[in-house]
Amino acid sequence: MAGEQLALTVLMGVFLVGVVSLVSRMENLRAYAPLTSGDAGYGDSAATGHKPSGLLRWLTTVDHKDIGILYGVYATVAFVWGGLAVMLMRVELTTPALDVLGSTGVYNGLLTSHGITMLFLFGTPIIAAFSNYFIPLLIGADDMAFPRINGIAFWLLPPAALLIWAGFFLDPLTGGTVEAAQTSWVMYAPLSAEQANQGVDLMLLGLHLSGISATLGAINFIVTIFTERSPDVNWANLDIFSWTILTQSALILFAFPLLGSAIIMLLLDRNFQTAFFAVNGGSPILWQHLFWFFGHPEVYILVLPPMGLVSWILPKFSGRKLFGYKFVIYSTLAIGVLSFGVWAHHMFSTGIDPRIRASFMAVSLAIAIPSAVKTFNWIATMWNGNIRLTAPMLFCIGFVANFVIGGITGVFLAAIPIDLVLHDTYYVVGHFHWIVMGMIAFAAFGAIYYWFPIVTGKMYQKRLAKMHFWLSEIGVVITFFAMLLLGYLGMPRRYATYEFNGLIAPLSQVTTLHQVATLGAFIILFAQIIWVFNLVQSYLEGPVVETEDPWDLKETGQYSREFEWFAEQLDSTDDDAPALAADGRGEPSDD
């Protein structure tokens, strides 16, 4: 008895020592959490001076800029994964038969992985990279409102990616028992509910995790923009990128919890014999309603911030302020609201009531207006402006051009009669790739080049950046025009092979167009290799930027707050250590 009490006492003592140790470590952590230390903001040596070195710094950072860089690196890795997956698919599609991948299951796994990776692991994080790094700078905040939640939101993403991709890793280890999920990114029931493959469960859990991450980030941005703005920033002079991030965050707040709930229901259907999405239960159509109630706002979650980036960057190289600043704000908000009233336009061919279908068509046509308004604003901004064709500007112009095609093909699909003909064909694939690659990725590239001097303190290779743009644009046009034409010819989407009867579609023309699309995809791939090389090479060896205004923005009165911060960094950096605190490669001097 006495021995037990002694053991308990010792255990309690060890526990208390552990608590004290943990608390003291927490105090150390507080020292380099800008907001928790009270007065330390970016550019303040107290904030950066306490960062641990090396890997530990990146694992423990709560600095919004560091987290922004982590998001950017993460998104790039995901972009490579998703890109390589689609290259394998495009190679397979050069011939009608199954000649390369060996089985349709591999193709389906790659297709699923490509879609989910590009939307959830590249699209959302690359936007978060810019918003984390630059929103606090643009609104004059010390950091995000909740720096540690910001860190948690990012660190949920690597396990999410591992779970989503787990099937590929586990397939060889389990002898094929666990395979890559083959549900496509929409995970339609009953296929997703009945596919007896634990890779699907892992993928669903990973997706759920990424949704939690996005939701935490959204809450953080909403609170930051509402409460952490500098006193000289109000709703009338808040920058346009922050407006789009605010709207995006609101959409995430309403959309992602629904996806999480639907995923839980699907997991229950798969593992606990519930019948939410069973044919004789809640119905597979219920899944489609729940998924697309999330899924269509997700389109705008992904595209509104890139629109904000272009609205921010394009005027800088047009020599004029954004034309119709408030038009862009109101149209952004309108898109945000209307995006929740259009979800069933993805379901026109499911046999839902024609009256309800007509309503969704009406709202879908209405949402085209605020989208088109933005296009006219960008064009009007450039009109009579002094255009400077820098790499960021080229990507912005490419963005607008691609949006015209991607957007208008979408308006066609909003019309029920056209949708019924083109549904589930490559036309739809072409349409949304004009948006996802032609807009979202292009805006990201433009923003990366635009802010490259701030983040790295170096300048990229201009000629390579222009090559990157032109090859990307040419590749996008070739690949996705071919897909639109394939859709007109009736080529169904999601097929690994297309050895169908010539009565369905003219096989020789379909084959040729697939080969053209693959050629375009290789051009895009080559362009992205140039991009990655340029970034890495310029980061390591590029010329150091010593001017506070690398884009000559002062000349046109558009020198903005993030470059003011950059100038402060340059001023506070020793001559001996010219690297910036922005990316942690150097520390500001103490004086």
């Binding site: 009338a236 002079n237 009233g341 009256r355 009406a362 709202v363 300048m459």
Partner: protein
């Protein structure tokens, strides 16, 4: 929504959202007046509610955001030195910012990135690129 809350300029800005609102109002009228699919109270209620709820949500958000921006603009006008520069551009698209002439050349030549050669070091540096400390 008095005229004092929304001046003429704000009302003009709100046209951007008035157009989709008008489109949705038009479709509500069409759905009420023309129904080729037969009577079905439940489906007709859903049909109208989808458009009406979306319409109402957009009206509310437009009103409150316009009011917030309008009030913020009034603050800007009342105390311009306390605030950062407004983001809104001049309404006249032909109006250019200050140094038009200096930019004329670059517009004509489409000159690349405006990083002066003097402003960057041509040679790669030997510094450690990644080490934090």
């Amino acid at each position: 929504m008095s005229s004092r809350t929304f001046d003429r300029e704000t009302l003009l800005d709100l046209i951007v959202n008035a157009i989709p609102l008008a489109m949705m109002a038009f479709f509500v009228g069409v759905f009420v007046l023309y129904n080729p699919f037969g009577t079905d109270i439940a489906n007709q209620a859903i049909q109208l509610s989808i458009v009406v709820i979306t319409f109402s949500a957009l009206v509310l958000l437009t009103y409150f955001s316009a009011r917030a921006i309008s009030n913020a603009e009034a603050e800007l006008k009342a105390d311009p030195e306390e605030f950062a520069e407004p983001q809104a551009a001049a309404a006249d698209p032909s109006e250019l910012t200050s140094s038009d002439e200096s930019h004329g050349e670059t517009a004509a030549t489409g000159r690349d990135e405006h990083v002066d050669d003097e402003s960057v070091e041509a040679e790669p540096t030997d510094e450690e690129p990644t080490d934090a400390e």
